[in-house]
Symmetry: C2
Subunit: 271 residues, 2 copies
């Protein structure tokens, strides 16, 4: 994110607990200044963007709530880019009143993570959801939208609960299925290792999300567990119908089912 | 397939029921001659390759069994490229004795199909399984391996039952999951259409196989239903464990599970 904002803003301060990450960001001209101290880094800030795993966001927001040392500018915009929003917005409610909170979530993740994975085209044309709070000033919302546009992404205002339901379908269910596919294949490969020689581009793509960072994803699964449980429950109903149709050779059901999903998939992603 | 063999063999005869496909193949220099008649097309053939959906392969093999007009050369190699092997090999057992059957399955499918999707690099370095029969002459097996190598692929001899179990894991389970993901998302989108705006590269990749040709896949699901049912049953066990772990917030189980599948995924496909 900083890699993009650097082009427009005068001073970007990179804050991280890992000096190696900060060195990388500084030497690659991604940030102007670096510090391992949050208190120091946000002093006099106009905008704070929290780009860390979801439960680290909770912890930082709670620190801000409890601290007397949040010496940002008046009406400092505080955004995050965490993948779930209900619990984050809940923490944001309790921030000091001189801060203007807006939850954020860009739909442009990759299975790679860390500073080395940074690249300027990541946000191009991405859908970027923003979940402002009732307490958030309209000017702060506008600023958040402007930042999203600067990144090359498309801002969309949405409620936190709607957000969490939608991403359970669009992101967290696919991640779960990729992991469950891998576990099933690991089990099969215990019988015959040739499985790993045979996997092709289909398996590679379907399992890709299983390579996502575990801590990041565990935070997501835990902080959005209700919506994810609902999605898995809905998935399970189709799974059992599908299993039954295969076992009973119900070709009429299968052809209708496969044709419907194929049609929707082809509409969604034009070849 | 013909697009590759054309480079090495003197005469490739394209046989299809659709004249448009044959015209395309001829004008694009993929084949030397074309015909809509199988009987005519295989007359005097050294090699026959059946590249059609699995149950169309059954039907052609059964026609050869019942016909007195299979006027190929003596010891004509007959191969297929169908995605399941047990039932095909079963049909091949009954072929006239002047034919030398070898089941074949290249691991290089794409979600696109039809003659327009043909391209010469498709087989490059692909794993290509061959399932010869007990009755098959060793020379015919060698010829099948040579053809696979000519395509740029890597031949691997395997029993039909092992083949079918392995591809249930590597291909048919991923296809099933892609379809079930799509159906679950369609259901969610009935509540909130924004789902379709939010889907990103993760959803795109996980759902990619749902775009596969329905007739081809239905043939595969039906002809390999025992192995696929076993895989879905194994998958279901992990799904229920996973759901339980999320519902009970069993982070120890989840972290171990997600870490194991991530490690295996990263070993399998080096970034």
């Amino acid at each position: 994110m900083a890699i993009n904002l650097k082009r427009y803003k005068s001073t970007i301060i990179g804050i991280d607990h890992d000096p190696t990450t900060l060195d990388y960001a500084f030497t690659h001209n991604i940030v102007d200044e670096t510090t391992t101290s949050i208190t120091k880094g946000i002093r006099g800030a106009d905008v704070i963007i929290l780009a860390v795993p979801v439960r680290t966001i909770f912890s930082i927001l709670n620190d801000f709530r409890d601290s007397n040392q949040v010496a940002t500018k008046q009406n400092c915009l505080i955004m995050d880019v965490g993948s779930t929003k209900v619990q984050i917005v809940h923490c944001m409610e309790k921030l000091p009143l001189h801060m203007q909170p807006v939850g954020g979530h860009p739909m442009c993740g990759r299975e790679t993570s860390g500073i080395e994975a940074a690249h300027g085209a990541l946000f191009n044309d991405a859908f970027f959801m923003l979940t402002p709070l009732r307490r958030t000033d309209p000017q702060a919302i506008s600023l958040a939208e402007d930042i999203v546009k600067l990144l090359g992404a498309r801002p969309h205002l949405i409620g936190a609960a709607s957000h969490d339901r939608i991403v359970a379908t669009a992101s967290h269910l696919p991640y779960s299925l990729a992991c469950l596919l891998m576990s099933t294949a690991i089990k099969s490969a215990e019988q015959d290792e040739l499985v790993w020689d045979v996997v092709s581009s289909g398996f590679r793509d379907t399992s890709r999300l299983a390579a996502c960072d575990v801590t990041m994803m565990l935070d997501i699964l835990m902080s959005n567990r209700t919506a994810i449980s609902d999605e898995l429950s809905s998935f399970d109903i189709y799974l059992q119908e599908f299993r039954k149709a295969i076992a009973t050779q119900d070709e009429i059901w299968l052809r209708k089912f496969l044709s419907q999903v194929r049609q929707q998939r082809n509409q969604l992603f034009i070849k």
